[in-house]
């Protein structure tokens, strides 16, 4: 319903979304899974790591879950809808580098979730000695 209303307010939204997704999907190999409702996000990248902002107004922070597996970041949660029914959502982002799941920092303020995750330090290059037989 929300997506539908937003489309009425801004008929170009569908087009904008396609355009905004396109280069990222193509060059950074990002994929998402959407199950009905899912919050909108802004994703930032740097050589330090990744920063994600998500709109989570009205979602109990205890019902939010942030998980990292290698280079995949997953946001999970549950939102109570107007009719009292519960709506689970899950969104995943495939990032072009591995993340350090020890250093995650997540905060919620004014209905915005901010997640900061550092890049995993690259494993040191090891030179393998070749034995001469």
């Amino acid at each position: 319903m929300r997506a539908y209303l937003n489309t009425i307010n801004n008929p170009w939204r569908v087009f904008d979304e396609l355009v905004s997704e396109f280069p990222y999907d193509l060059f950074n190999n990002a994929w998402r899974t959407r199950t009905g409702y899912s919050p909108r996000v802004n994703v930032w990248e740097s050589d330090k790591g990744v920063a994600v902002e998500a709109e989570v107004a009205g979602i109990d922070p205890d019902k939010l879950e942030v998980a990292v597996d290698a280079n995949v970041l997953t946001l999970k949660g549950e939102k109570e809808r107007a009719d009292g029914s519960r709506n689970e959502f899950q969104r995943s982002f495939n990032l072009p580098f591995e993340l350090d799941n020890e250093g995650i920092k997540a905060t919620v303020k004014n209905g915005m979730l901010t997640v900061l995750i550092p890049r995993k330090a690259a494993a040191e290059k090891r030179k393998i000695a070749i034995e001469k037989l």
């Binding site: 990002a30 994703v43 930032w44 990248e45 709109e55 989570v56 004014n110 915005m112």
Partner: protein, 125 residues
């Protein structure tokens, strides 16, 4: 104010996309509760006003920017939330209360005494 004299931040303020916030109304015996979703909006950026029986809400969100980071996926624009509600006669406008919690603006609109449901005692004749 002439358009030419506007500085950059003012122009950006004008260019904000205007949206209607997601809202819902609940009813109890004593009051109506109007809940509006305003993610990314701080209290000072909410403007709430009542004119006659029209309750108007305007709010602007703040989109965080991260220094030294590049925005690679952008779904949250800078927006101006705008909504107006025509309150029914049953609402006691003097008793309206507003609370801001977890990105929600929760308005309590108490009902006027005379419209609250009440039990009528039956006296034995």
């Amino acid at each position: 104010m002439s358009l030419i004299k506007k500085n950059e931040p003012e122009v950006q303020k004008m260019n904000r996309q205007e949206v209607t916030p997601v809202s819902r109304v609940d009813e109890t015996d004593d009051a109506f509760t109007l809940t509006l979703e305003l993610p990314g909006v701080t209290e000072k950026d909410i403007d709430l006003s009542l004119e006659e029986r029209t309750l108007s809400v305007t709010a602007e969100n703040t989109v965080e920017t991260f220094k030294d980071y590049t925005l690679v996926l952008s779904e949250i624009p800078e927006m101006r939330y705008r909504a107006a509600f025509e309150l029914p006669e049953r609402v006691d406008t003097a008793g309206i209360k507003a609370a801001h919690k977890n990105g929600l603006l929760i308005l309590t609109l108490p009902k006027r005494e005379e419209v609250k449901p009440r039990r009528i005692a039956i006296t034995a004749g």
